[in-house]
């Protein structure tokens, strides 16, 4: 009844273009949205399959929530623990890694904790030490996002108790998105963990430089999770088509070259050419 009324209203307003054809609802983590890939891929996908890709950009926590409620047809996330749980609970039916990059630990050019070239775990310990001496600052998202979860993991791997670190004066929680957090780190000349795409976007606007950009602890795999059609009323056919589309050769090559013309540096590496890396986190 309500929908009929709304459709009539739509027609009167001359906005009938709003009534879309077949759509696919993708809940994507914000960091992936911020790269701009969905704008490109959505257009190609619609042209090839006649299905409009509707992307909801949300924090990873919300992406999982949408998946559990069946409000989206599939999600694109980068948080292995949460992905594992979603599959275990039966809301997700299949995990498809499609691209990866590495988180960066960025900091001021002077590098007061001299972490450049160290492995991530040693680097975290060094930052802790120098932080205690009052020589450097660390900025954290503090928002339970995928990036924040990774940061907590790093402290843990460095055998440092996270709840012990958070009240420290050198440890600053912003509670905001990656862009703002990075900008605060720039203003305070502090260290922070950042995803590659956001850093490339801001590279020219900030004085921080990447000090660490490799190491399996920093590996960041982006995956699609297909939602279980037995559990939720969703457009499963379309989500399967989209998964096939993403892992097709053409699109995998697209990921390898994405960002090079705009930023002079690659943003992702495709999973097709690096199967061993994408599946390294034992799933």
């Amino acid at each position: 009844m309500v929908t009929v009324f709304l459709k009539i209203l739509l027609f009167i307003l001359g906005l009938s273009f709003l009534a879309q054809g077949e759509t696919l609802k993708l809940g994507s983590t914000t960091s992936l949205c911020d790269t701009g890939v969905w704008d490109y891929l959505g257009e190609i996908f619609e042209r090839e399959h006649g299905i409009k890709l509707n992307v909801m950009c949300v924090g990873s926590g919300m992406a999982f929530e949408l998946a559990k409620r069946g409000d989206v047809d599939l999600i694109a996330v980068h948080e292995p623990e949460g992905e594992k749980n979603l599959l275990k609970e039966g809301h997700g039916i299949q995990r498809i890694p499609f691209a990866f990059n590495y988180f960066l630990i960025v900091g001021p050019r002077e590098d007061p904790a001299s972490i450049k070239g160290l492995n991530p775990i040693l680097a975290m310990r060094k930052i802790y030490q120098k932080g205690e001496e009052g020589k450097c600052l660390w900025i954290s998202r503090g928002d339970e996002s995928g990036t924040h979860k990774r940061e907590k993991e790093l402290w843990k791997k460095a055998s440092l108790d996270y709840s012990f670190i958070t009240p420290k004066p050198w440890y600053i929680e912003t509670g905001t998105g990656m862009a703002q957090t990075l900008f605060i780190a720039h203003q305070k000349k502090a260290y922070t963990l950042v995803d590659r795409a956001t850093f490339l976007h801001f590279k020219n606007k900030i004085s921080l430089i990447p000090l660490l950009q490799k190491g399996k602890e920093l590996l960041n795999v982006y995956s699609l999770i297909l939602i279980n059609p037995m559990k939720h009323k969703i457009n499963f056919k379309a989500s399967q088509k989209f998964a096939e589309f993403i892992i097709s050769n053409a699109i995998q090559n697209f990921f390898d070259s994405y960002g090079i013309t705009e930023f002079g540096d690659f943003m992702f590496q495709s999973c097709a050419k690096n199967q061993n890396i994408c599946h390294a986190r034992n799933f």
């Binding site: 309500v2 949205c33 509707n54 992307v55 409000d71 990656m178």
Partner: protein, 232 residues
């Protein structure tokens, strides 16, 4: 500092160049917030009249609650509506989540307290007098109320403008129940938050300027209608 100027210049460039996507987004902002205000007025002006003219138990409490709701956080409305419209929620069957309609509903809720509250305060200025005069010259109760409406219609437009300002500038609810889908539910405020996240600070400022321009146009049009700056 330079970024602010660049942003302002870019804003004017985008307005002049009539960028298609920007026009679409602006138009969407305009009609979603406009429709929300319109719907809200249909319900809330009569409610304001009832609350003012009729004896209602605990009226003072009502008014306090309504005025408190001026401060209703938009994200809270978004969250509430999200839970209602989600597939798991009681209204999930309607499939309204992540559509412009959900945004219209949300914004209508957000502006309602303002419209009700300001209707009442408008009426307390001269409502009673007009009402009683109309009754004393032999009008029916309905005619009297109609006469009051006619008298206060211009003041009501001010409250409408305030409501519209709140609706078109809110982002919490729009992003929560609209989802910021490109070409479908992306409005100016959600686009600003997206572009800020992407680091396109100039574009964000430019979009902000466009939002202000849209608000300016609406204000000028309604003021013209109101006759304040009439053509003389």
């Amino acid at each position: 500092m330079q970024e602010i100027f660049k942003g302002i210049i870019k804003g004017f460039e985008l307005i002049i160049s009539l960028d298609r996507e920007i026009i679409e987004i602006s138009w969407r902002s305009l009609w979603i917030s406009g429709l929300a205000c319109f719907i809200s007025c249909i319900f809330c002006i009569p409610i304001g009249f009832i609350l003012y003219f009729y004896k209602i138990p605990a009226k003072g409490l009502f008014l306090n609650v309504i005025q408190t709701l001026y401060a209703l956080p938009t994200v809270l409305v978004g969250l509430f509506l999200f839970l209602l419209l989600s597939k798991e929620g009681p209204l999930g069957e309607l499939n309204l989540l992540f559509t412009p309609w959900a945004m219209v509903i949300g914004q209508a809720i957000i502006v309602s307290p303002i419209i009700i509250g300001l209707t009442i305060s408008t009426l307390s200025n001269l409502g009673k007098e007009v009402y009683e005069t109309a009754l004393s010259i032999g009008g029916s109760e309905f005619q009297a109320l109609l006469q009051v409406l006619r008298e206060v219609r211009f003041s009501l437009i001010s409250s409408l403008l305030l409501g519209f300002g709140r609706a078109i500038s809110e982002v919490g609810c729009a992003i929560m129940v609209g989802g910021n889908i490109r070409g479908y539910t992306r409005v100016l405020t959600t686009a600003i938050s997206l572009e800020t996240g992407k680091g396109n600070l100039e574009l964000s400022i430019a979009l902000g300027i466009i939002l202000l321009a849209v608000a300016l146009i609406v204000n000028v049009l309604l003021n013209l209608f109101q006759g304040r700056y009439g053509w003389r």
